[in-house]
């Protein structure tokens, strides 16, 4: 289960809406599995169907997390024309077995879908999201 504050959920949705129709992506860093620090990332692909963190930005952010004893608790991205479910591409590149993979869909501008998954060894498991 992902437990996350309303404030962080709102920030993810706001980022996804702002970058629509391109996919938005980012990280929430934290300790002991608790998401705390919101880090919106550049989508180096600037694409409506693909995202990739800019490699140098990722390096800086990952090193900063390391220095602060944080980990990427949440890795989020948006789908802008399809449902908030991991695609085959998402599954094949998922590389943080300890992260909650959050997907939001902005295809319906009035009703943003917000869902969370674990992706380990190619297996997707949806989990409950508890907003506090």
């Amino acid at each position: 289960m992902l437990t996350i504050s309303r404030d962080l959920v709102d920030k993810i949705i706001e980022h996804a809406r702002k970058d629509h129709p391109d996919e938005a992506c980012g990280v929430i860093a934290g300790r002991d599995g608790v998401p705390e620090r919101f880090i919106p990332m550049e989508n180096a692909e600037r694409s409506p169907t693909f995202y990739r963190f800019d490699s140098m930005e990722q390096f800086r952010v990952w090193r900063e997390m390391d220095d602060r004893d944080e980990e990427p608790v949440v890795i989020y991205h948006s789908h802008t024309a399809t449902e908030a479910y991991p695609s085959r591409t998402d599954v094949s590149y998922a590389s943080e077995p300890n992260a909650h993979y959050v997907l939001v869909s902005t295809r319906d501008e009035n009703d943003v879908e917000f869902r969370s998954y674990r992706i380990v060894d190619g297996v997707v498991t949806e989990e409950e999201v508890r907003i506090v």
């Binding site: 996919e23 992506c25 990280v27 990332m41 692909e45 694409s47 409506p48 169907t49 693909f50 995202y51 990739r52 963190f53 490699s55 140098m56 990722q58 390096f59 990952w62 090193r63 890795i75 991205h77 789908h79 802008t80 024309a81 399809t82 991991p86 695609s87 591409t89 998402d90 590149y93 998922a94 590389s95 943080e96 077995p97 300890n98």
Partner: protein, 92 residues
Amino acid sequence: MAVEVRIPTILRTYTGGAKAVKAEGSTLDELIADLEARHPGIKERLVEEGSLRRFVNVYLNDEDVRFLGGLETPVSDGDTVTVLPAVAGGAR
């Protein structure tokens, strides 16, 4: 002295859980060969058909090796090599 290689979570199964390991070589290619000798299986996760895998980022100190010389990039004692899987995906 040797080169310190920082290993991402997903590849620590090859390093007995270690976050950083030592390896030697004068180029990134040699370094990865040495890494493979010490931690069998890891090379295949980094290299494909003679070049770095597209969705693996490798940094020499603070630079992405793609902007240096890829596998031909020279490395020296005291350098730090960081491996990070690219974070990528998408609806396509």
